[in-house]
Symmetry: C2
Subunit: 233 residues, 2 copies
Amino acid sequence: MNDFKARPPAGIDPISASSEGASVYELIREDIIEGRLKANERLVVADLAERHGTSTNPVREALQLLRGEGFVIISPNRGARVRPIDQDFVRDIYEIGVLIEPALTRWFVNMATNEDIEELERIQALIEENNFADPLKHSELDTAFHTVMYQRHYNRHAAELWWKHREVLRAVSRRFNFTLARRITVMREHRQLIEHVKAQEADKAAETVARHVEGSGRHILEQMRAHKAAEAS
Amino acid sequence: MNDFKARPPAGIDPISASSEGASVYELIREDIIEGRLKANERLVVADLAERHGTSTNPVREALQLLRGEGFVIISPNRGARVRPIDQDFVRDIYEIGVLIEPALTRWFVNMATNEDIEELERIQALIEENNFADPLKHSELDTAFHTVMYQRHYNRHAAELWWKHREVLRAVSRRFNFTLARRITVMREHRQLIEHVKAQEADKAAETVARHVEGSGRHILEQMRAHKAAEAS
DNA sequence: TCACGCGAGATCATACATTGTTTGGCGGAA
DNA sequence: TTCCGCCAAACAATGTATGATCTCGCGTGA
């Protein structure tokens, strides 16, 4: 019944330009984020067009859009390549999150209604119930948790930025498992956050979120590092 | 001889994806930012193609790119419209700057070389020499000043974000004049900033930058409000 | 090593098909 | 008469197809 499929905060473009449900854009984007298209892989327009059963025109437009979002690098007359979602990329993204999310949180604390808090508690209950058993589900719920806080923020730019970054991090972390230490920390920080919101302590909430995002980013980076090391051996 | 034409920090998208396409992209973008294309104005592909002497294909790609950057809104089957660069837009942007720039500055303070400081002082001297006589020149110099601080930051994402926002604010503020109060404040804050960098006081520098960006944003917003009020009468 | 030529593929132009949106007029109802 | 809903034509977005031209990377031969 409560389907917490992660969805972007309202007002954020669902980038569904084409009539087709799954546009070429979305397909390519998924392929990149999910890692099906490898880092620096060449994106040949004609190939993509054939693979997705379209002509070249929609593909080219999709690539431009992806460039605008930073998933693809296009060099003049040399075509498009998959932007590597490497450690630097992830670090850049989460560091920006550390700067932005506390501000969003601060606003939320001051604007939160009882319904908001109930919603947070409900989601948190589901998170605890799941207890990382289903990592995918955890990811969805965790995203929903933070979406509740940010979705109504007046700064749509900031919210949209958060969402885009979130999508990338979510996709990357999907490849890894949570360490025990991280699981405990996530739970504790979420509970702390709810307490701070209830107590209307914006500063503390902001500080907790900063720690939360920082920790999450570091965790993913560690995983990537470990994965890379394992791969190299 | 010292031409401080504002240029993006190294490694930031030179958006020169295609020979011809780049120009179409740039031209449309300029038209939007400079206000030659009005808010919500409809962007008809065929018209744009004709106006810029190209076919529709590059135009369509340019529009997708602009959509990715938030300058254009595309609704399915209804085409593209100019995204209004209104007060909300500007506020969103400068608020993000207030969050990000202090962090960039903090890093700069710790990494600054003597050459960097000399560069800052040189630019500041030019700013003082110009003393707002030529607003355009001031804008260029001011941008150069901050670029010195951010251009080598390891977080390319953050630097790029700053640059894109900067471009928008620069274009918007080009329509207005600096108030006397703002002129004095800008000078003082720049000088303060240099002092903090010299003294290696990262926190103070960050705080000054936060104030600087906040003030700059507010100033532009005030101007926009005044302009709008004058226009309405 | 270095110049040259070739081929893959990007970029652009053009023409056309299809589909969804807009608009202006027409006829009937109030 | 005036208002309203409906419809068709104009308009334009979107996608397809094809060909021309240009750039870049690579292999070959001097």
